[in-house]
């Protein structure tokens, strides 16, 4: 019901909605920030707050239910990460550019924001060709929705989610590799 009020433009409803979705938002953030590596302890709280701020700043979308809300949150998360990557990329490119040697320019630190930007570009391209797949990627990989939740939201059978993702990933991978400005994108080449 709160979701509905939020959808109706009652921004205060977001405040009241928050306790309900806090755990989920936190889970989303956690997914992004807590890798498998021990000792990586950057808390997801800040990211949650960031999402909250962005959600609150958006014009209230037509939110149907909790899962829909989470899918919106996933889009927000993607937006945050890509904004962040662009800022980082600009910083690396900007201020210190003249100081970088060619070798340094190929340093991984410079690549990672670039990879994020290229994934985003590829996802946008995918959205033009096959919007549901792009949303699915967003929900699953940026929003951390489960296969079941995604299936429910996209109104497809759960086992289709896996298949759709398989196609989407292959497509994205190809898109990334065609745009061959950088190293071949695969898990193997990503420094962790």
């Amino acid at each position: 019901m709160l979701v509905h009020e939020y959808a109706q433009g009652d921004k205060d409803a977001l405040g009241r909605l928050l306790p309900l979705v806090y755990g989920e938002l936190r889970r989303i953030a956690q997914k992004h920030l807590w890798g498998e590596r021990p000792g990586h302890t950057l808390q997801p709280t800040a990211l949650v707050h960031e999402m909250y701020a962005k959600l609150a700043g958006q014009s209230a979308p037509d939110v149907r239910d909790r899962i829909h809300f989470l899918s919106i949150a996933a889009g927000v998360m993607r937006q945050i990460l890509i904004d962040h990557a662009r800022t980082k990329y600009a910083q690396k490119r900007g201020g210190r550019q003249e100081m970088l040697s060619l070798d340094e320019a190929q340093h991984a630190c410079l690549e990672k924001p670039a990879i994020m930007i290229r994934i985003d570009d590829a996802l946008n391209e995918l959205a033009r060709q096959d919007p549901p797949k792009a949303r699915l990627v967003e929900m699953r990989f940026f929003g951390g929705l489960t296969a079941e939740e995604s299936a429910q939201l996209l109104n497809i059978p759960v086992n289709s989610v896996r298949r759709e993702l398989r196609v989407a990933q292959a497509w994205l991978q190809r898109e990334l590799n065609q745009n061959s400005q950088g190293p071949k994108l695969s898990t193997g080449t990503l420094p962790s």
Partner: protein, 1012 residues
């Protein structure tokens, strides 16, 4: 391609289900002649992987984004060297680092890029960091500095050793007293923050740090706000709400609801924490965040009494009141809260006895000794440590150089000078003088210009027997400045007090520093009354111009290293920058005074006096006293001013020394000796009081005591030419020619050699060796000029002129007097002696002209009006045979001032006025009175030393008695005649190998022969 997309996908998925060898035939069949479609499917297959490679790529990229803040050990952030990661929080990672300049460990929090990539947010963060840095409270983590390293913003704060409350609570619930003790500290910290309008918003056990010894600090003030919704960009009711995501479980109901957060929200979190400390259970804990939030909104936690039976009932009430859902029903101020808790811990001891809970498991076996020990010693230790933390008024303190990381050199020395002034207002804090610091550096075999780093300062502090040292720092914080002051015990290295303030602009730095210094004074144990009474704002106490203050500081530094002449241009610059800079004028006065340019010194002292209200209390009193003693010469007022200074700052040795100097000017040697002894008691390693005590002892004819003082000074490895002139005089007075020769040797080649040459001239003249005396006086003059001390040279010449006049060589007297006066006409000492020399040489007009000028310039000067001018006028009257008038002039001479050490000339005094008085009585035919005057001179060898007046007093006494013999009859006349003859004999013996053609010798011989 688009029209085939569905088909391509299904082919791709179908192929994936096939074994590799089946794939090509399948595609051959399925695509038939659509090579484009086949190519599509194959290219997708080529990029397929079974895993979630895109997901992993996103994850990896995300990590790298937020990971890039990780800083390698050894990296230098400004003056900080990162040592290792010690933790991380919502805002970023925390590193242990070393402050290379202050040589201390600090914590550096490197902020998460979320915060730093958004300029608005960064600005807000800066504001908050500034506010947090302004929170200057023992229960709040001190934030030192904010900086940016490459793209990374970091915050430097004190490094705490200990554990956060979360860790401590892992050992189980805390004994209620410990819990209350911590809670009281939290409440005090909150009170300070709330008082400045800062709400924590994210109070939780992780943010509460208990240092070793039980001292609690609240961390991350102001940081919580950073995670709030960007208020500027959010329209609608949320804007006002400014919701902050506190940690679930410690959030207040209003935070959960997204309502406006205020300081009372902190009390809710406080209540939840206190609850947890006491019970070992979280007040609100549910499996999911949503359920927890629901509990916060709707449920009350179980009563603490369910966990602990022996807590005071009041404690339960405090917790409940903090956890009220409606904030209006909570405590309304942190000080109320602290008060309620303190009341509990005070009364608790008598009404409730602590019964340890039954051990609950292995954890307790660790916990009990730790906690019980803390419990047992906690109270007493706290009290004792708070006493240890304080200074007493007997302690002295050394100031380290400021550590200036602003990059703005104006702060380099200016702030230390300002801090010195600020602290010097205090009757309680005794700052070790620059002279003592330099002396101690010499003992440490270090150059006097050694930068006073905290380490060096600590060593000086230890060596000088001081209790504490104060290290100041200034660091940039955005466009603001953070000023820190730390007082450390130099023996133990313990932190005694710490203050930190922020200044919103460069112009406000001095105000901020003054405020911090005042607070530090309180922390160090000074009474509030004196802190408040003596608390002139620094800009007022010094100058509002930092540049002027810097110039002044450089002047002081240069003066210490290279001498007054080199320091003066800086002081001059300082007063150009701020024409109302009283201390600047005062320093110029001191500088010129030490160069012997008394006239200019007086001008600057006068200006300083006029501006004395623009200084701190101590400077004001000192400038006032100095004005009376050095400019107007009103010795009574000067003595009173120094006494006032002593009453207010009884721990400072210098005013005692100054007062004593004034007293010697008044001829009150006994009182002066007492004051010198006081000075010495406070500062046994200062040379001046030894020399001065030697003088007073000699003036009182206590020669053994004088020798003793000199020996004591030497035993303390203190040396000064004054001590050697005294030794010489003592040797002279006891006819110890070997001792005199030894002292003469000491002076050879030294800048003060001219003093000894002049003394040697006096010795020769004393025996009538005028030729030798003239030669030595000439050498003294040359030596003075070589030593760049013309004024002294001029004084030696006037001394010689007086001698010539007294010996009857009036022409030479006038000539030498004129030469001396020409050499240095602007010195009061030269003028008075020249006036007297002219008068004695019969040049009444010149004498009177000088006398009038002196009278005009020094209308209230004690010695001028009561000794010098009466002597000059009397001599003028004698020249004109106006004997009664002469005696009348001399009537004003006050008994003790007559013997006073003469302020304008270097040696004690020749008692010229007394000599002239004797001459006036002789001329007026009053033999007995004349004899009494000459007797005074003969009785005060310790004042007169080897001055010719001492020799001629024998002749004067002989003549006075001869006069008496003539003017009386019978036995009196006979006795007078015998005394007179003896005195003549004595004089002629003294002058037995005198230069033969001295007029006065011829007269004496003739008179003696006649008397026989």
């Amino acid at each position: 391609m688009m029209e085939n997309w569905e088909r391509i996908q299904s082919l791709f998925l179908e192929v994936l289900d096939l074994r590799p060898e089946q794939r090509a035939p399948f595609l051959d069949a399925a695509c038939a002649d659509d090579s484009e479609m086949r190519q599509e499917v194959e290219s997708l297959l080529a990029h397929d992987s079974d895993g979630e490679q895109i997901a992993e790529a996103i994850e990896g990229a995300t990590h790298s984004l937020f990971d890039s803040t990780a800083i390698e050990p050894g990296t230098k952030l400004g003056d900080y060297e990162v040592l290792r990661l010690i933790g991380s929080g919502g805002m970023g990672e925390v590193y242990r680092a070393e402050d290379l300049r202050l040589e201390r460990y600090v914590a550096i929090k490197v902020l998460s890029p979320f915060v730093t990539n958004d300029p608005d947010r960064l600005r807000r963060f800066e504001q908050e960091a500034r506010a947090a840095a302004a929170l200057n409270h023992p229960n709040i983590l001190a934030v030192y500095q904010m900086g940016v390293y490459q793209d990374t913003t970091y915050l430097v704060s004190e490094l705490l050793e200990g554990d956060n409350l979360r860790e401590l609570m892992k050992l189980g619930p805390l004994p209620w007293r410990t819990a209350v003790e911590y809670a009281v500290q939290i409440a005090h910290g909150l009170s300070a923050a709330h008082g400045k309008g800062i709400v924590h918003r994210d109070l939780k056990p992780e943010n509460l740090f208990v240092a070793k010894g039980g001292h609690l600090k609240i961390l991350d003030f102001g940081l919580a706000k950073l995670t709030s919704v960007d208020q500027a960009s959010v329209p609608g009711p949320l804007t006002e709400a400014g919701l902050v995501m506190g940690t679930v479980g410690y959030m207040s109901p209003e935070q959960v609801r997204g309502q406006i957060v205020d300081y009372r929200s902190d009390f809710f979190a406080f209540g939840a924490i206190l609850y947890e400390m006491l019970s070992g259970q979280r007040a609100f804990t549910r499996p999911t965040a949503a359920d927890t939030m629901s509990a916060i909104l709707n449920e009350d936690p179980p009563a603490i009494s369910q966990f602990l039976t022996m807590t005071p009932p009041g404690l339960q009430r405090v917790v409940r009141r903090c956890l009220e859902k409606n904030r209006d029903q909570r405590f309304q101020s942190a000080s109320d809260l602290a008060f309620a808790l303190e009341a509990l811990s005070d009364t608790g001891t008598s009404t409730v006895s602590e019964v340890p809970s039954a051990p609950r498991g292995p954890v307790w076996k660790v916990a009990i000794p730790l906690v019980a020990a803390a419990l047992l010693v906690g109270g007493a230790l706290n009290r004792r440590s708070s006493q240890n933390k304080r200074l007493t008024e007997k302690d002295t303190t050394v100031l380290a150089d400021f550590v200036n990381t602003t990059g703005d050199p104006v702060f380099d020395d200016a702030l230390k000078t300002a801090l010195t002034v600020s602290l010097r207002q205090s009757p309680f804090v005794n700052v070790l003088s620059d002279n003592k610091v330099v002396a101690t550096l010499r003992l440490m075999a270090r150059p006097t210009a050694t930068p006073l780093t905290p380490d060096v300062t600590r060593e000086i502090c230890q060596r000088a027997g001081s209790k504490a040292y104060i290290a100041g720092s200034i660091a940039p914080l955005g466009s603001h400045y953070v000023l820190g002051l730390k007082a450390m015990n130099c023996q133990s290295g313990d932190l005694l007090a710490e203050e930190q303030v922020t200044a919103p602009s460069k112009e406000k730095v001095l105000d901020a520093l003054g405020g911090a210094a005042s607070k530090l004074r309180s922390q160090l144990g000074e009474s509030l009354a004196t802190v408040q009474t003596f608390d002139v704002p620094l800009a007022e106490a010094t100058t509002s111009s930092l540049e002027a203050l810097k110039a002044h500081s450089l002047g002081v530094k240069t003066l210490g290293e290279k001498g007054a002449a080199d320091g003066l241009p800086y002081f001059q610059r300082a007063i150009e920058l701020d024409p109302n800079f009283a201390m600047g004028y005062s320093a110029l006065g001191d500088g010129y005074n030490s160069l012997g340019e008394v006239g200019r010194a007086s001008e600057y002292y006068t200006k300083a006096f006029e501006l004395r209200d623009h200084t701190g209390e101590r400077e004001k009193l000192a400038i006032t006293a100095n004005y009376y003693s050095s400019v107007t010469g009103e010795l009574d007022k000067a003595a009173r001013a120094y006494q006032g200074l002593i009453e207010r700052y009884p721990r400072d040795s210098r005013p005692y020394n100054e007062l004593a100097n004034v007293l010697t000017g008044q001829g009150q040697y006994e009182k002066a000796a007492d004051a010198y002894h006081q000075s010495l008691r406070l500062d046994p390693n200062s040379t001046a009081p030894y020399g001065n005590l030697g003088n007073t002892a000699m003036a009182m004819q206590h020669f053994d005591e004088a020798r003793q003082m000199i020996r004591e000074a030497h035993a303390r490895k203190l040396d000064d030419f004054i001590l050697h002139t005294q030794s010489y005089a003592l040797a002279f007075l006891t006819s110890d020619s070997v001792g005199m020769a030894d002292e003469q040797k000491w002076f050879a080649g030294r800048p003060e050699e001219n003093d000894m040459l002049s003394l040697a001239a006096d010795t020769e003249a004393y025996s009538g060796h005028l030729g030798k005396a003239r030669e030595l006086s000439r050498r003294a003059l040359d030596s003075s000029i070589r030593a760049d001390s013309k004024e002294t040279g001029a004084i030696w010449q006037e001394n010689a002129a007086l001698r010539e006049a007294a010996f009857g060589n009036l022409r030479e007297a006038k000539q030498v007097a004129a030469d001396g006066y020409r050499l240095f006409p602007t010195s009061q000492g030269v003028e008075v002696e020249a006036a007297l020399a002219y008068a004695m040489a019969g040049d009444t007009a010149r004498a009177e002209s000088l006398a009038q000028a002196l009278n005009k310039r020094s209308p209230v000067d004690t010695q001028m009006q009561l000794v010098w001018l009466p002597a000059v006028h009397a001599q003028e009257a004698l020249d004109q045979k106006h004997f009664a008038e002469a005696l009348d002039d001399l009537r004003v001479i006050a008994p003790s001032v007559e013997f006073g050490q003469m302020a304008f000339v270097d040696n004690l005094s020749c008692l010229y006025a007394t000599y002239i008085h004797g001459e006036a009585y002789l001329a007026a035919g009053q033999g007995a009175a004349a004899a009494a005057e000459f007797q005074k001179i003969l009785d005060h060898g310790g004042i007169v030393w080897n001055c010719w007046t001492g020799a001629l007093a024998h002749l004067g006494f002989a003549r006075a008695n001869a006069l008496q013999a003539r003017t009386s009859q019978g036995a009196d006349a006979d006795a007078a005649r015998v005394r007179s003859l003896a005195a003549y004999e004595g004089f002629l013996t003294l002058w037995k190998d005198a230069d033969p053609d001295l007029p006065i010798l011829k007269e004496a011989k003739a008179e003696c022969a006649k008397l026989r």
